[in-house]
Amino acid sequence: MMDRNSPIKLRVVNLYKSFGEKHVLRGCDLEVQEGESMVVIGGSGSGKTVLIKCIIGLIQPDEGKIYVDGLEITSLNERKLNEVRKKFGMLFQGGALFDSLRIWENVGFGLRQHTQLSEEEIRRIASEKLRLLGLRDIEDLMPAELSGGMKKRVSLARAIAMEPEILLYDEPTTGIDPMMADAINGLIIQMREKLSVTSIAITHDMRSAYKIADRIAMLYQGKIIEVGTPEEIKNSPNPIVQQFIQGKSEGPIKLM
């Protein structure tokens, strides 16, 4: 669990990223403490996914720095960046499971690539991780045979298989029914408690955000405009934050 004095696990400093004319990130700053569950909220197109992809090195920012455990990662070469990536696990919005591999091969993918464990060992560990997420007897199925909720859970199992220190969630509750969404929220909390990981989730599902976050940060026009505990955010005096968290189409944020 996180307390006020936990070390800083991840720091994003003054990040800029544009795609042609679109200036997505314009001086984004964020600090995440070890063991913390940070949720970044923001409207569609606010740059949440770009931010998270910069953090794991999938996108190279135009300007700014990112520190993981004090190590600056934007200037690393591919090999060193790969080593840093082993600290991360990421859950993609659509699951991004490998269609040509069975479920256990998906979950055990990292183990197969980076360890010398036998096939039986890998399968055993994969089953164990799946069971943690409430999935049994699906090891030999193909991803196409699963429902959306199951795909997300398998994707999460794959993300935790290598016991990462930092978990990134890209819209974990989007696209699934409300009951499954709540189950996923519960699983995210479980991951934090059982595995003591630092987690960063991006979402626009406020219910999910309030449930899983230690702190919430709001991204607006390429910058983080407010950071606080769920209570602090709920009571924020900032009208932009209030418009978003209350889900109103009228207000300072112009939609159309």
């Binding site: 591919e78 080593e83 991360f88 993609f92 269609d99 993918f109 690539q113 794959r158």
Partner: protein, 255 residues
């Protein structure tokens, strides 16, 4: 001036794309020898390339050999050289038609599949997922396909050559009434080791071309399902054209 602008624009875009393909080719070569070795993936791809293409290659080669025999017999009769049919079929298949037609057929079957698979993976974030699992997608996806195509194409061409010559034999002997011993002797008479060796080298090059271009198209797909469709078409068309154009230059260099 608009014509000049159009030409200039397309030339620049062509050069950019060609450059990106060459960069991918160089990176692929670089990754072949760096561990971890993806033995399982390489074997899987070799099976895909070989098994997918075999029936198509055999049928193409068979009928090509047959029509070669038919055509050369009919034409050579005009100058009393119809006894040379065996030689014509063998040399044409081994030096040229075996490698080129096999290359074109494989580009259609296998090249499209590679582009479609990698394109779908790209648009469903599976390639991003590979990076997050600390695995380089070129190493894991492209190198096995590249090696599979480079190794399997010459093997397929050997089968094509044999079936083509067999097809020519069938037509010459059964339909045109050539003496079987004569046909077989003519097949070997003027054949040199260089013919076979260079034909297979061409095949290996074509394999590299198919894999590199198709994987590039798949990798650089954008725009959802429509993008995958476009990438697949581009992969087949561009590989086929590249095979035909480079065929001239490789042949000039080798022979």
């Amino acid at each position: 001036m608009n014509l000049l602008r159009w030409i200039g624009n397309h030339t620049i875009r062509f050069a950019e794309e060609a450059g990106r393909v060459m960069i991918l080719f160089a990176r692929t070569l670089g990754w072949i020898f760096r561990p971890p070795m993806q033995g399982r993936e390489i074997l899987k791809q070799m099976e895909e390339v070989g098994v997918r293409s075999f029936p198509v290659v055999i049928i193409t080669a068979g009928f090509t050999g047959m029509v070669l025999a038919l055509q050369s017999f009919t034409v050579f009769k005009r100058f009393n050289a119809e006894s040379m049919v065996g030689t014509v079929v063998a040399l044409s298949m081994i030096r040229e038609l075996g490698p080129v037609l096999t290359g074109l057929m494989v580009s259609g079957r296998v090249g499209s599949a590679m582009a479609a698979e990698l394109g779908t993976m790209r648009v469903t974030e599976q390639i991003d997922a590979l990076y997050t699992l600390a695995t380089n997608p070129i190493k894991y996806l492209i190198v096995p396909r590249f090696l599979a195509a480079t190794i399997m194409l010459p093997i397929l061409v050997i089968f094509a050559d044999v079936i083509g010559i067999l097809g020519g034999y069938l037509v010459s002997v059964q339909i045109l009434g050539t003496n079987p011993t004569l046909y077989i002797r003519r097949t070997w008479d003027y054949l040199e080791f260089n013919d076979l060796y260079s034909g297979l080298l061409k095949a290996a090059f074509f394999g590299m071309i198919i894999a590199t271009i198709s994987c590039y198209q798949g990798f650089s797909t954008e725009g959802g399902a429509e993008g995958v469709g476009r990438a697949t078409t581009k992969a087949v068309v561009i590989s086929s054209l590249t095979i035909l154009i480079s065929n001239y230059f490789i042949t000039a260099f080798l022979f």
